[in-house]
Symmetry: C2
Subunit: 218 residues, 2 copies
DNA sequence: GTCTATATACGGATAGAC
DNA sequence: GTCTATCCGTATATAGAC
């Protein structure tokens, strides 16, 4: 009975502690600026143990990077591939999911974006993300709406860039909100919560032809 | 006659060559991943000269960082503080200016955003950006439109985040366009050129009450 | 001003005791 | 499995010749 319980709930295994610490440090500072010593200290263990469990900084990083991305994309694919929800609902879900994720882990977007640059080996076309996305119900519904003449802009790329930009950009430009807008953490989160409903309305106003978007705002 | 001409036009001074190389390397890889040796090599000079001219990697970086940001913000303040242009024209100018800048130097946005994180010493509240922005003609015109009831969303922060997000986000998420959208460089730039006119129209559709926005799209 | 050679520090990784 | 001590490559920075 104690055999399985102890390493889960009571307190994490050493391996897990290192992973948690590594995630925090890597996501905050990026690969190049992170020191294995800092990770070890953050984990409350010794530097040697890090190599004992994960062989090298690089290997540990790849692990963290990979499951950060899986985590990030699941947020997307989970909402976008449901046959029982409408296109509009999917947009609302996506905005809410991503904003929740980013509020909880604000470093993730910039981490992913900046670590992908200069890794053309493409850690992430190992991920099935590309194909999963392109064959998703969401994309099919978009194309149906275009065919039905309900949408202004037939280019899916513009649509996706705008949607993700509206969701994610505030988090990666956080310092500007702090300095130019003078926002503290609570005010910033308040603004992000508002955006869960504002973004779907904005998307409608931008792209949908029967424009009921503006009444939805405010 | 040759005294002043030679170090400007014919071929750049050593100091200038180092700065050009440093800008390229730092912007591409970020501070932590950049090696002074690479910068020296890129500049076609010796490592010792780098320290001779700039004392240290850190000092050189601060220089580059500072004038990258000045450059970046001038793009903004230049367009936003003109009494003779309308609010709508300013949006068009801003989109066009920034897209031009990003097409030419695609690494700048991610560079600024990721290097600002973890520099709470705030290299950039030395910049007058904050005050320049808040007292700009653009902001005054925005507030007038809000007061006149022409705009849906009274919060300037939402407006600015959306506008900058629409402009900048595609550039920092470039790898996604490449992999998910399958875009090559030419196709990507084509899309960005389109956005110079699309973005102002989208902004109108999102925020302006007398909605003539949708007719403007396409 | 520009180079070569070198000092010095730091960070990743391992050896080996317990 | 976990620690201490240490090795060794690499990166910044400087000394000193030209």
């Amino acid at each position: 009975m104690a055999k399985k319980a102890e390493n889960e709930a009571i307190d994490a295994s050493t391996e897990e502690k290192i992973k948690v610490a590594a995630r925090a440090v890597f996501q905050k500072k990026g690969y190049a600026a992170s020191r294995t010593r800092d990770i070890a200290q953050e984990a409350g263990i010794n530097l040697a143990l890090l190599n004992y469990y994960f062989r090298s900084k690089e290997k540990l990083f790849e692990l963290i990077m990979f499951d950060t991305m899986v985590n990030f994309f699941q947020c997307m694919t989970g909402a976008l591939d449901d046959k029982n929800t409408s296109f509009e609902i999917k947009i609302e879900l996506l905005a809410a999911n991503y904003i929740n994720l980013c509020v909880e882990f604000p470093d993730i977007p910039l981490f992913i974006l900046s670590e992908i640059r200069n890794r053309p080996e493409n850690l992430f076309d190992k991920l099935p993300a590309r194909h999963l996305f392109r064959s998703s119900v969401f994309v099919r519904q978009f194309q149906e709406k275009v065919a039905a003449g309900e949408i202004n802009e037939p280019d899916l790329l513009h649509f996706v860039m705008n949607m993700l930009g509206l969701i994610i950009f505030p988090f990666i430009s956080r310092p500007f909100s702090r300095i130019i807008g003078g926002l503290n953490d609570a005010q910033f989160e308040q603004l992000m919560q508002e955006r869960k409903t504002l973004i779907p309305a904005w998307i409608k106003a931008m792209f949908f032809k029967e424009n009921t978007g503006n009444e939805l705002i405010k």
